[in-house]
């Protein structure tokens, strides 16, 4: 009896998981199909661009700076055992551009913007604002979702680029002013080992993560129901699923790109 109930629960979860994938795919298809046709809501796109590209800069910048500093310190502690301190600049650069820059930027954006997208769209859903929009002959997916997906896709790489620069700067400051590196040597070691693909691969990851964060944020807002509690639950689901998706995609893309 216990085994039957257990299997029933596992089956129920699995079907729920497949249903969620199907629903997200349909939602994505509808968003792209309606969003790619005119009219285009340029004001909405500009507002979202400002939210993602400009207002996220402080939090992304701080995260990058602290990560760059911590990375240089950790490398110093580890590499000194093997007298390999000279590798610190290139390791900080590779870690920031290939991995930490895109992942941390996406996680910060998921926490800051993904949650706010879900809360905003979810509140609109439960207070019938989305129904009101439909009644005023405006396709709510086109108006609310597509601009967010587009700006997420285009502006996350920009944020990742800024993150890379600030992270490397954090490593430089630690290396030069705390670990006693010569400034020009540090800069030379950083750039001599840098390849264009290191930066590009990070930007590609950023675009994929940005699109995913916005898709999850919008989808969970759009399917939320049941008043304030439902919106709260949707917001939590949005951040959790975005974070998991970012890490999963990171594995897949790293495997494919390197």
């Amino acid at each position: 009896m216990f085994i039957v109930k257990f299997l029933e629960k596992v089956g129920h979860c699995f079907i729920g998981f497949l249903a969620a994938i199907g629903n997200i795919s349909l939602f994505l298809f509808r968003s792209l199909a309606t969003g790619s046709r005119p009219p285009y809501y340029w004001k909405q796109i500009a507002q979202q661009a400002l939210q993602i590209g400009y207002f996220s800069l402080p939090v992304v910048g701080m995260t990058a700076l602290f990560t760059g500093i911590a990375m240089a310190l950790q490398c110093s502690a580890g590499f000194s055992k093997f007298a390999a301190e000279t590798a610190i600049p290139s390791v900080v650069m590779i870690a920031m551009t290939r991995e930490l820059g895109p992942v941390l930027t996406a996680l910060m954006v998921a926490g800051r913007l993904g949650a706010s997208m879900t809360a905003e769209i979810g509140t609109m859903k439960v207070t019938e604002q989305i129904d009101a929009m439909t009644m005023l002959s405006v396709n709510s997916i086109k108006y609310l979702v597509f601009p967010r997906l587009l700006t997420g896709l285009l502006l996350l790489p920009f944020l990742v680029f800024i993150d890379d620069i600030i992270g490397i700067l954090g490593g430089y400051l630690t290396g030069v002013y705390y670990l006693g590196f010569n400034s020009s040597n540090y800069i030379h070691n950083t750039f001599s080992s840098m390849e264009m693909w290191d930066v590009l691969s990070g930007l590609i990851k950023g675009a994929a993560f940005g699109f995913t964060v916005c898709l999850m944020g919008c989808y969970h807002g759009y399917v939320s129901r049941g008043g304030a509690e439902g919106v709260g639950r949707a917001t939590t689901n949005s951040v959790v699923s975005s974070s998991i998706m970012i890490l999963l995609l990171d594995c897949i893309l790293t495997f494919l790109l390197f």
Partner: protein, 258 residues
Amino acid sequence: MSFVIEIEHLKKSFGNKIVLRDVSLKINPGESYVVIGESGTGKSVLIKCILNLCEIDSGTIKINGKDLARLSQREKFSALLKCGVLFQGGALFDSLSVIDNISFGLIHGYGKSIKEAHRISIEKLGAVNLDQSIASSFPAELSGGMKKRVALARAIATDPDIIFFDEPTTGLDPITSGMINELIVKCTKEFGISAVSITHDITSIKHIGDRVGLLHDGRFIWEGTKAELLVTDNPYVRQFISGSSEGPFTGNTNSPRP
């Protein structure tokens, strides 16, 4: 004779719960029809089904002779422009000012210029007895009565043929309720708009209704004029009007929100 709304054998359920069992209804041009019934009998669901905001299980619904479910998205949006809705909570867009709320359908639905849309919006603000000084205010800065009137101005901005009122006086004081009732009568009689209203307010029913239908157990169990409503010996209607706890209504009905 052509009806503005024609519903035949409508059935709608949520999971195992049948909310609308067999609803048939015909509304004449210029008529004001009031739907009454216990809370949770599916009155709001009925409006959402009529407006194609939720999918029906079976039956047909025609607005001005057109079955919205069979129209293409573009045709559906164009048909919806001829329907106005005053949602229960107003459903004003929080992020837009009063004037932008009223102009929304005119700009995005009708494609009017911002200047023209704002001119019409100011005119509609006057029609619902609101001063144009609130045009730049945001919904959060308005009282409940003002929000309802702004929502009414938005609903009539596109000059609809049919207007739906979902509990228009709920949560308002008697004076503001009276004012809203006056405005509804003004909309229907002066502008010749057909109306479907949901209300529990007996004063409202007497004021705004030409014909009244009592919804119970997923179907209309009584229909008549407002004069007949006051003299009928139908036990359900008598209990509803008297507000007595003794009678056929058990108060156990609870349909989910669409």
